[in-house]
Symmetry: C2
Subunit: 332 residues, 2 copies
């Protein structure tokens, strides 16, 4: 029914090996033979079976991608970066959402290894000990994208979260603020808790400002919770906000304006993401640029090096960040 390499070989009066060579662009085929085979392939509508090929060659040209949630624009951006580079290197992608659920992550890893992917790009706020153990034991290479593994056992691509947060808070401090609120994502996330929050504290300490726990509000990264956070903070009267992502920043802006305050005159806001939303907000958001697309792309590129057994010059890649100044802060 379906036409196989054997059918082509028979019709072209050559061996399967020759057909295989033609299909795989092996140079050791006489042009005339190649042409003849190609003609038969065309006539029969032969399409190589990648599953059989994968079994024989032990390569599937497929990589697994495990991310929290593709419907979240940050992860979607990351995924696009991964996919573009994957396509460039002729890999396909098996994409799965983990919802940051450890069991799901573990199971997804297992499934993908079972499917014999050639490599895996993984993203999660927390890499549990068990997950780490499984990753280290994995027969196929894994790269962490925008995810921290403090043991540095697994390759990863990140930005300097601490430095970025420090610089953002310092900018607020330099603008004269004393009461700087921090609307932060879940503290279960390593990056939030160990990097951003620490940077916030140290930037304040370095400026001689006392740390006030009341100024920290943990949110689930959503617009609604950010709005609520601002309402909760009203009694404290913060004059500046450092906010963990663009969606929450828009919530902050709206809530602050509801209080009758003007941005940036009365209150300044710095976001941390710099997605398309940052320019769609009014006022437009000053934001730490968190290059998700690039992190995805570089992660995938790094993975290709592992898959090809290329030399790895740097296992823990740190990409540059910058602060994009727009209208939600007073700039020079």
């Amino acid at each position: 029914m379906t036409v196989t390499i054997y059918d082509v070989a028979r019709e072209a009066n050559v061996s399967m090996a020759t057909v295989s060579r033609v299909v795989n662009a092996n140079q050791n085929v006489k042009p005339a033979t190649r042409k003849k085979v190609l003609k038969v392939i065309e006539e029969l509508g032969y399409r190589p079976n990648a599953v059989a090929r994968g079994l024989a060659s032990k390569k599937t040209t497929t990589v697994g991608v495990i991310i929290p949630d593709i419907s979240n624009s940050m992860y979607a951006e990351l995924a696009r970066g991964i996919e573009d580079i994957a396509t460039m290197y002729r890999y396909n992608i098996i994409l799965s959402n983990s919802d940051q659920n450890e069991n799901k992550e573990l199971q997804l890893l297992e499934t993908m290894l079972g499917k014999q992917v050639d490599g895996i790009v993984f993203m999660s706020d927390v890499i549990s000990a068990e997950l780490l153990k499984e990753m280290e034991r994995s027969p196929t290479p894994i790269v962490l994208a925008g995810s921290i593994d403090e043991s540095a056992a697994i390759a990863s691509v990140n930005i300097d979260y601490y430095g970025a947060a420090y610089e953002a808070v310092k900018k607020l401090v330099d603008n004269g603020h004393q009461k700087i609120a921090f609307i932060i994502g879940p503290l279960t996330s390593m990056i939030n808790k160990e990097y951003k929050l620490k940077a916030y504290k140290e930037a304040l300490a370095d400026a001689g400002i006392d740390y006030d726990e009341k100024l920290i509000v943990e949110c689930n990264n959503s617009y609604d919770e950010a709005m609520e956070a601002v309402q909760t903070l009203a009694p404290v009267e913060p004059t500046a906000y450092f906010v963990s992502n663009d969606e929450m920043s828009i919530g902050v802006i709206h809530a602050v304006e509801e209080q009758g305050k003007k941005i940036p005159m009365d209150v300044e806001v710095i976001s941390y993401e710099n997605s398309k939303l940052a320019r769609m907000a009014r006022p437009m958001l000053t934001s730490v640029a968190f290059p998700l697309y690039d992190i995805g792309a570089v992660s995938m590129r790094l993975l290709t090096k592992y898959m090809n057994n290329e030399e790895i010059e740097e296992k823990q890649v740190i990409l540059p960040y910058r602060i994009e100044e727009r209208e939600s802060t007073k700039n020079d």
Copy 2:
């Protein structure tokens, strides 16, 4: 090196067939045998090779998903709907971006069929004749998600684009508007050109309002172009805007406000998407609810029916839409 079904069989003193039965939860295994096999599987850390399984069984439990661009929130939402249902039915997803490029679409189809996916969910603004031909010839089932094939040859899941647009425009007409601008996405898209635009024209005609071509501005679905469109339209002074998606609607709102006009008092706006953004806009957007997640989920569900040779009661599924009234229109 890697442990195979054969190793397990040897260690457990049973045949490969028995191990296979255990792994596949076949009931024809004595409990004692099952237990023994399971123990060996555990000890050896055996993980079934899905590629070998796929070759032998001719099923990969993988479906292909071809969408324009995962970094666009509409398609990301769709993808999440697809993935959730796929997971429910134990399928994995190979996700690829086509950027609506016909050659890429053709080539992706080919690649996925080569990878022996069990089914494909496809989305694109235009399904060319050649693409259609390939789809009809495809040995594996294909479902179109949010995409029109007027020949109805391929299964599909959509909403009533015409009805939704008609109702939106009628609402504007009923609110007394005569100069209703239509900020529409690319007219290369079937849905825009053959459904939405037609609905717009007929809703006006039915209200006895002359069609004015100048009120139609074709955009690339982006915030920036929508803003420009409003500026271009300034001389015509539209009093209402029907806009093809939320991002553009926000552009329209900002541009209208720059003209010193108030929404909805001076100008009304109806969007067409109803994403998270609709609630994050100020004023919040009245919008036709285009249920992308559901379209993805239903498409995938429909695909499972084809893959299982279940009875298909409806090949062309039409999902309900509704209009979500918020602040960008005057409501009763």
